[in-house]
Symmetry: C4
Subunit: 357 residues, 4 copies
């Protein structure tokens, strides 16, 4: 990759952070769907609040709480600070963490440090490497895979599917042929689990079925209701080219808010798993607009192994309250568990939600 | 209990009254559910309004109308006046009355008078003692039970389950282990019926099933839609510690409005009773946001033996219109009975409600 | 009846007209339900607009259109003018007409002229006498029946059931015992058909079943969604006694808007008639908030023989546009018939309505 | 036709264009229904955006995209410019085009040029002649048919059913007898396919069934949700006669917004086609409020062969952005196809829509 291409990438990555923090990028007229559900109050909790235990497991390892910090950044110098802070928080709470796309790290050695810092400050928790569908479609070499994994001593590789983002991205790559085929090859040869995620449009039951058949071990739904990456890229597009002209105004609204709400993904994939008991081992991550420990709790009751968050935690970090925020989310979760008489995360996954009238 | 602890308790009890009267403590975005139901008009009532009879029975005794004044206060000097007024009204209308938690009376003799006053001014109606789940969990001694019952010549003991209140209460006791077990022991040894109630979060069918198995004779659902005790305690918390930091803002809204709407509790427990004819003898009290004789009427049609009210009657008392208010509620009830052609309370319990479109 | 009682009655009847014209007396938060239904467009009407025929029959006689002027007034001197105008319109369009309650006419000869005027100006159409349930409950003598019928050369007698009105009326009679029994006796001995109606709270399927068993030949549902007679009487009550104190404010709102929406009555009674083919001969009148020929059309599609209106036509009369209004309603009806390809009223009764989404 | 009649017709046609462009003529409180549906996101499109192919066929001929320019104008001098522009656009995108009613062309030679211009500027695409139901009802002579077809070297004849428009039109013809019968005769003798359309009130499944039995080859639903021709004619009526007096105000609102929403027509006719596999060859055109390529995409998923638009494209033409608008619609369509992993229009017709919650 040329110098210019690299500086363009750095700029894009900084734009992303800035737009995610300050732009109008949330879904409009579409929500995660969590708000449609409620737990049933247990007048007789029969537990003591202080006995509530949040620990659980993810892909075979113990974790401190059913929460993950989603893939966000890396690949340019300023990213190192963000990644260090996220790593410190992950380490403190004993929760998994993903890094942002590592394409830069593959293309240019000088950007690797911004990823490596993560393992330095989070020595004991699960860390996940990250790469995009277009890169996978081209076929990753063994050496590329090793570079990514070794840099982080990674516990797994996350592949993100981001068709809508690429469609709206001025410089987007919209060739999504062969992704599945290459995912199957990748899963077969890589020594760690492959996790596949979206970035805000969600994963349907039929996509999940295909991913599982390709050997994927975990699916992060990253559904609609939080940030819309179409909106992020649309802001970048209009900054470059002025007022939108690609799509009609009427369709644009629907395209910018395109995607399957997070709770819907969980329900649909949950139904799929119920039908096929062979899929029991596949773990589901709930993300896309998760904004509190209440959402985490509902995610679990809807079948997730854990929930994950990117933008809300980035905002908290930016405001200097990252650890306070995570603490409050875990308190939310404990409150729900107390008021439903649930002592462990495993039990929480068996609670039935009720649909609000 | 020390002097200071006692004065702190007095202060808390006064805070409760003050906050209930003047604070923003009602559920937000959640209602009792009564408003979703309506009676069908009877164009041919075939009765005379003047023949309508409101008398019915509760736990084996005749009462003047299917209404109860819910447990509210006692245990500090100023409570005596409130309790006297409530007792006078109960006596006048021939309806049952509960007192507030009697923990203070057990711990300190000097506060007993504020309870005893009730029996003095309500010599002939049913009066219910009251104690909280945390006290029951610790195991009540025979002497404690006797103290409470004798002080009031009580017709029964009400145990309140208030997990959400304790969770939000700055000084709350969140150990709810062994409540059921101890309720069973208590029911077995106490000479009067045990009634269990919530305080605004409602009792689900499954909790009801457990309570009945433990020997409870009546259940007061005290569901969501009226006062939220989480909100009352949250006001007290922020007065002490400033802005909320325990929970995330997003979850807080759902936790403050947590609970099963009153009508939903009645429907769910009604279905449970229909399934198990053995439970016919268990009497259900409808409370939580009851605000008129219309709500009383709907409560009965949804399976309640009677309805109960705390906050609305406290407000009326505070405004000097307690008896006028009760009179108007009984008129509401008569109006509904006339317009549905219902001469007796027993018949009203067999009316079918229709769901509003 | 004494002079004073008579002048009080005159005053009440004038109050009614004045309050109906100028007061806030329509249902609040409850509608007729007609707005939930729509006809399906017929792109191929296969008829000519000019061939549309509105004539139909009511209780065995031909009428010019499926519309009736509902019972309104009479019994005091000024009523004569109103009744003359209504009679002229009925005669012009060849449609049936009811007069207001004839209790005064029975009690005092001097008020009879205000009724007799109707037959003078409407010599050829059906005219219906009118009396209230409380009078029927007491038992009408043969001479009273004859007086009413002869005064109008009446084609039938309408009995109105108005329990909710009597409940709210300051001087109301709330003894509704024996109405059914007396209706059966009345139906057996009277030489013309008995029609029973409500006055704005509607008639349920179960009330309809009882009425039919008592020998009633037609039922006018007079359902909720138009004028609330509770509101009319509440205005009169507060004029006399100041602010409401009989009922709680919360229940009052539901009581003032009490009743079964007109369309619901038609649907429920329609289902009853379908179940029992023996009831085919019973004719249903749709009234209560009918406000256009669109409502008339929907009434018929929901099973009515014709629709009737009081308040809207009284307003039109007051504004000097009674005949223009009826003309526009009949045009509405023709428009619906054209756009659904319906040439006759009989066919219109077999159109299926669709529920709006 | 006399000079005056002709100049009146020219005036009406110009009024139509002007009112359609500037008047308040869209449905109020009724939408196409497309907004209730959504596609499911495909996280794994498995295609490349650049491979998406929009070409399809209509009535046996290949077309560049599943879009048609609906019948609009012709028959007066100024119409020639409009028709030229529409023809140029149709030719550029390789899509079908209909002209406005050709009654004038039949009646007066001098107006023929405004139609003939279309074939001049759109030499290779499908062009459809157009005539109204009232003309068909009277029976078209062979020479009239030939005149219309030869003028355009037409690929088919569109018959429009516009009962509601004629009803509101001051000079409207509301004799719709014999339309079906004459359509059958016409279909039998004409050498090109007959397509029948509404103009904004939609075609029901039962009307579709009748049309197909009469030999019609394609149905354009032209449903409710876009322009209401009742409103267009009502504006003309009040310009001539002042405030509405034909219909009651309450009914008027429902009559002006009368019709079956476009999506509903597609669903109902789709169900009809599923029931009767013999109807497979009948092609459905989706129109009435189509406003973007998103609507086009949904139309196809709801069973349409293609979608058509009149008013939105007229507005675009008026604003000088006709071709840009069509380009953006086709981009919308490609975006939907990419995000649902759909490479061809044939596949798009088999996508299942989900109903929004
Ligand atoms: C600033 C930012 C950068 C992101 N970069 C990546 C990335 O490189 N790789 C990836 O898989 N997801 C990336 N995401 C997407 C998130 O991992 C997540 O799927 C998405 O934001 C939805 O979750 P949320 O609503 O909690 O933010 C990024 C998100 C943010 C906010
Ligand atoms: C000021 C106040 C004090 C209360 N104290 C008690 C109490 O000591 N014990 C108890 O069981 N419930 C107590 N309650 C709860 C009520 O009995 C009742 O369950 C609850 O307020 C819901 O009913 P409502 O909506 O009619 O107020 C209290 C309520 C109020 C308003
Ligand atoms: C001014 C007025 C007086 C009425 N008086 C009578 C009456 O004497 N007898 C009767 O059966 N109904 C009476 N009604 C009720 C009407 O007949 C009708 O049932 C009711 O108003 C509902 O229909 P609407 O919504 O079309 O007004 C009266 C209505 C009005 C507006
Ligand atoms: C200005 C104008 C003139 C029209 N003239 C005709 C016509 O002559 N013949 C016809 O079949 N439809 C005519 N239509 C109706 C359209 O073909 C179409 O069915 C209707 O407008 C609904 O589609 P839309 O919502 O896309 O406009 C006309 C529409 C417009 C806007």
């Amino acid at each position: 990759m040329s110098e210019t291409a690299n500086s363009r990438t750095t700029e894009r990555k900084q734009d992303h952070i800035e737009i995610c923090l300050h732009g109008d990028v949330v879904f409009n007229g579409k929500t995660t769907g969590f708000e449609r559900f409620a737990f049933e109050h247990a007048a007789l909790p029969e537990i003591s609040f202080s006995d509530i235990d949040l620990s659980t497991s993810f892909l075979g390892k113990s974790i401190g709480a059913p929460l993950m910090i989603s893939s966000m950044t890396g690949g340019y110098s300023e990213a190192a600070t963000l990644n260090q802070r996220l790593a410190e928080a992950a380490e403190r709470f004993g929760i998994p963490l993903g890094v942002g796309s590592m394409r830069q790290a593959l293309e240019n050695r000088s950007y690797r440090e911004s990823f490596a810092v993560v393992r330095k400050y989070a020595p004991t928790v699960q860390i996940f490497a990250n790469i995009g569908a277009p890169e996978v479609a081209k076929g990753l070499t063994e050496s590329e895979i090793n570079t990514m994994l070794e840099l982080l001593r990674a516990d797994g590789l996350i592949v993100h599917l981001n068709a809508a983002q690429e469609l709206f991205q001025p410089e987007g790559n919209t060739d999504f042929r062969h992704v599945l085929e290459q995912l199957a090859l990748l899963s077969a040869k890589i020594p760690v689990p492959v996790l596949v995620k979206e970035v805000g449009c969600g994963i349907s039951a039929s996509a999940a079925r295909q991913l599982i058949a390709a050997g994927v071990k975990a699916i992060d739904v990253a559904g609609a209701g939080g940030i819309s990456w179409q909106k992020v890229e649309e802001i970048r597009y209009t900054r470059q080219f002025g007022q939108e002209r690609r799509f009609s105004l009427q369709a644009l609204d629907e395209l910018l808010n395109w995607g399957i709400p997070t709770a819907q993904c969980l329900i649909d994939i949950g139904a799929l798993k119920k039908e096929s008991p062979g899929l029991n081992g596949i773990e589901i991550v709930a993300s896309g607009g998760v904004g509190s420990g209440m959402d985490v709790a509902k995610s679990l009751a809807l079948g997730a192994q854990l929930a994950a968050s990117a933008r809300a935690l980035l905002k908290a970090l930016h405001d200097g309250v990252l650890e306070e925020t995570i603490t409050s989310w875990l308190n939310d979760l404990r409150a729900v568990m107390f008021l439903t008489g649930t002592a462990t995360i495993a039990e929480l996954r068996h609670k039935t939600l009720i649909t609000k009238p």
